[in-house]
């Protein structure tokens, strides 16, 4: 019946991840953003938490827990609260593993899932976004053309995380008007890893342009085999995950701004005593709680195998706005300090702005 309290196990996971986020991610976030890279040791520590193997069936080497996007959402919020770039770096392999888990053929699961259950970080990724002003996941410009028992991929992708080091890439392409996904192993002929993206935010996550020039792969590499994958469903999972990330970033900004406003004294008292500041914080809190509930509802429906197209879409739509509005308020409340890179709020605004652009780049 209607209830909004995470289970004990979920709460334990939240607490563990929060500790990791607070002690390890927060400590390194600024440095990683400036350097444009996450130290491998930190990635490894994240990997050791076993988030990806958790839901992989035992027969493939995983822990065999039932996959739950709702639990994933809870985890993602904490990691994004820590630092969105580092979180996405640690979770990049999910972009490949989760679609295979959800939509792959048995052969595809057998081939790939065990790789994510090893001791060390297995770099795999997905190529989704395209370098257009107006990108539409339902009408991608990258094409997949059937040729005998092969597929030929052509096009250009942007924002491909860790493309330079990925052992395998899931490439989303337009096959006769519908979006499908194709497994492209490293070193496949015709794949060129291009320049690194230089973005407003998410600077600690190396992302690349990747071009596909007559890239030929076996038809068996189409996700889901001949029948293909349910792209609507995958997109719903991605949208829900993105919304969860937005909740985390927004919450980080809100908490920091709230604590600052209570300390910062001007005109003889903390600025939090002023309605203009206090009301900004109240509205931030309401939107964060509201977005979280919308994300949970969509995730809960997906876990039950129900169609959550509308809920996931509305959650993502709201997340796009909340991520920017809240993090913008965060900068505003810190005034001049909010503008300085030594303080995290400006980074959270830069990262928060990425949420709207991050179609297909967040999964857990």
């Amino acid at each position: 019946m209607l209830s909004f309290t995470p289970s004990e196990e979920q709460q334990m996971l939240i607490d563990t991840l929060h500790k990791f986020a607070d002690t390890e991610m927060r400590a390194k976030a600024h440095e990683c953003d400036e350097a444009g890279e996450v130290p491998q040791s930190l990635v490894d520590t994240g990997w050791e938490m076993g988030l990806i193997p958790a839901s992989i069936p035992e027969e493939y080497g995983g822990f065999g827990e039932e996959y739950s996007i709702l639990t994933g959402v809870l985890a993602l919020e904490e990691l994004a609260w820590g630092d969105l770039s580092i979180a996405l770096h640690i979770l990049t392999p999910s972009l490949f593993a989760t679609p295979v888990l959800l939509e792959g053929t048995d052969a595809q699961k057998q081939e790939y899932l065990p790789r994510f259950c090893e001791e060390s970080f297995y770099p795999a990724t997905a190529a989704f976004v395209e370098p257009l002003f107006q990108f539409d996941p339902y009408t991608m410009k990258t094409t997949a053309t059937r040729d005998g028992d092969m597929y030929v991929l052509n096009g250009e992708k942007a924002y491909v995380p860790l493309a330079d080091r990925a052992e395998a890439m899931l490439v989303y392409a337009n096959e006769n008007g519908s979006t499908q996904a194709f497994i492209v192993p490293r070193n496949t002929q015709g794949v060129t890893i291009g320049q690194r993206e230089k973005l407003m935010g998410l600077r600690a996550l190396p992302m690349y342009r990747v071009t596909f020039d007559q890239v030929t792969i076996p038809a068996a590499n189409k996700l889901g085999g001949e029948a293909g994958a349910d792209f609507h469903r995958l997109l719903a999972y991605m949208r829900v995950a993105t919304a969860a990330a937005a909740v985390g970033v927004a919450r980080a900004s809100f908490e920091y701004a709230r604590d600052y406003a209570k300390e910062r004294v001007q005109f003889g008292e903390p600025i939090a005593h002023r309605q203009s500041i206090a009301f900004m914080l109240a509205e931030m809190a309401i939107d964060i709680d509201g977005l979280r509930l919308m994300t949970w509802e969509a995730a809960w429906k997906l876990d039950r195998g129900e169609d959550a197209t509308r809920e996931a879409y509305l959650a993502k739509l709201t997340a796009d706005d909340v991520a920017v509005e809240v993090t913008d308020r965060g900068v505003q409340i810190l005034g001049g300090y909010g503008y300085i890179r030594e303080y995290p709020v400006e980074r959270w605004l830069r990262n928060g702005r990425g949420i709207a652009t991050l179609e297909g780049l967040v999964l857990i």
Binding site: M1, L2, S3, S7, D136, A261, H273, M294, W300, L317
Partner: protein, 418 residues
């Protein structure tokens, strides 16, 4: 566990209330909007048997307590989700007509106050009338010309004289004030101070039944919206009630304790989600109507297009739906917490803030999108915009509720954050 399942019994009830809304509310919406101060008898007569049963149940419970047959006990283990039921009921009835819904016969807030703070004897004495006979109403009289948001500044007085209280003062904007005192054998619960110098600690609630000399309805308001709802001004002039018509403890507690006032304010934590639900019922009506009219023009609302492919109208409607959903989930959360007996002042205020803002925007947008016909009284859209507006005002304005949220998240008292 995180669970969005709506209990089966609530789903069933919702269907019943939808029938009520379609049968005796929507067909009369425009009529009662244009015939302010008439009683919507079609709705009243339809709802009275339902309400009578509910209050008969409560009266019986009180009678059992009085006879010593039963102790006041905590939830008996069966899932009891009263607040959730209320929220769903109010949402659907407001979807029907928010003004007519407010004419629901029964003691309403007055009844909840008596049920919460009254002795078993008082419950039986005051609530019995709502379990029998003809439709009756109850009202809660708090607001005064000089006391709106600042509830603690009310100046209606209650002075003990022998075995009576004597009430003097003026109340305004009382929902069902006239229905309770003049149109039926109902009652009003009046907030008055027994000691102005004690501030909040001096404020108590008193039950004033219809027919008590010394209380008059001096005005029935004409409003922007919810015109079917009775909004009255009352004047108390040497209004005498028995001493045992006071609810709760007559003692003025120590200034810093203010437990009595707090107990009264706690009712707002229950009523705020209900008002939010009412707002969202109106909002849902507006959204559904807009989508219906757009669909007739061949315009549908997709849930899969990137923003740059959305028309302005599609974008607006999606925004309406997103805001509505957020506010509704916040409302469900607040109600669910009430049912779990968790303190929910923060969550209740959050829901009220969001719902009030959301439906003001949603209903205004709806009129805009519907163009010249949206502005016309041929359709109900313009009425819904007028009806919606009150939800950001009564039961605590959006500003007051935002202040409450702010104080809670900052851990500030009213002295620190004004």
């Amino acid at each position: 566990m995180i669970d969005f399942t709506i209990p089966e019994d609530i789903q069933q009830q919702r269907k019943l209330f939808e029938l009520v809304a379609k049968d005796v509310m929507r067909p009369y919406s425009r009529y009662y909007d244009e015939h302010e101060h008439e009683i919507p008898w079609e709705y009243v007569n339809r709802m009275w048997p339902v309400m009578k049963m509910e209050w008969a149940r409560r009266v019986m419970k009180a009678q059992q307590e009085l006879a010593g047959e039963r102790k006041e006990k905590k939830s008996s283990g069966k899932k009891y989700h009263f607040n959730l039921q209320l929220v769903f009921m109010v949402e659907m009835l407001s979807w029907g007509d928010a003004g007519i819904y407010l004419c629901t016969p029964g003691p309403a807030l007055a009844g909840f106050a008596i049920d919460a703070a009254g002795t078993p004897e008082q419950k039986v004495r005051f609530l019995k009338r709502f379990a029998e006979g003809d439709p009756k109403w109850g009202a809660m009289a708090i607001t005064e010309p000089g006391a709106g948001s600042d509830v603690s500044s009310i100046s209606t007085t209650a002075v003990r004289d022998g075995d009576e209280w004597v009430i003097n003062g003026e109340k305004i904007f009382i929902t069902n004030g006239w229905l309770s005192l003049e149109a039926s054998d109902g009652l009003v619960v009046v907030w008055a101070t027994v000691d102005k110098s004690a501030g909040r600690a001096g404020i108590k609630s008193f039950v004033v039944p219809a027919g008590t000399p010394g209380v008059k309805v001096t005005k029935r308001e004409y409003k922007l919206g919810i015109r079917a709802s009775d909004t009255a001004a009352l004047v108390f002039e040497d209004c005498r009630i028995p001493a045992d018509n006071i609810l709760g403890n007559p003692e003025v507690e120590k200034r810093d304790k203010k437990a009595g006032f707090k107990a009264a304010m706690v009712t707002f934590d229950t009523s705020r989600p209900v008002v939010a639900a009412s707002a969202l019922g109106i909002g849902r009506a507006a959204i559904e109507f807009v989508k219906e009219k757009l669909a007739e023009q061949g315009i549908d609302i997709p849930y899969n297009l990137p923003k740059h492919k959305l028309t302005a109208v599609q974008r607006d409607v999606l925004q309406m739906e997103a805001m509505h959903k957020m506010a509704w989930l916040l409302t469900l959360r607040a109600a669910a917490m009430s049912d779990e007996r968790l303190p929910n002042a923060l969550e209740a205020s959050m829901a009220k803030v969001k719902a009030g803002k959301a439906v003001t925007w949603i209903t205004q947008k709806a009129v805009e999108i519907l163009g010249p016909l949206g502005y016309s009284t041929e359709y109900l859209a313009e009425k819904w915009m007028r009806d919606a507006k009150i939800n950001d005002i009564f039961e605590g304005t959006g500003q007051i509720n935002t202040l409450i949220v702010a104080r809670r998240i900052l851990g500030y008292s009213s002295r620190e954050l004004k």
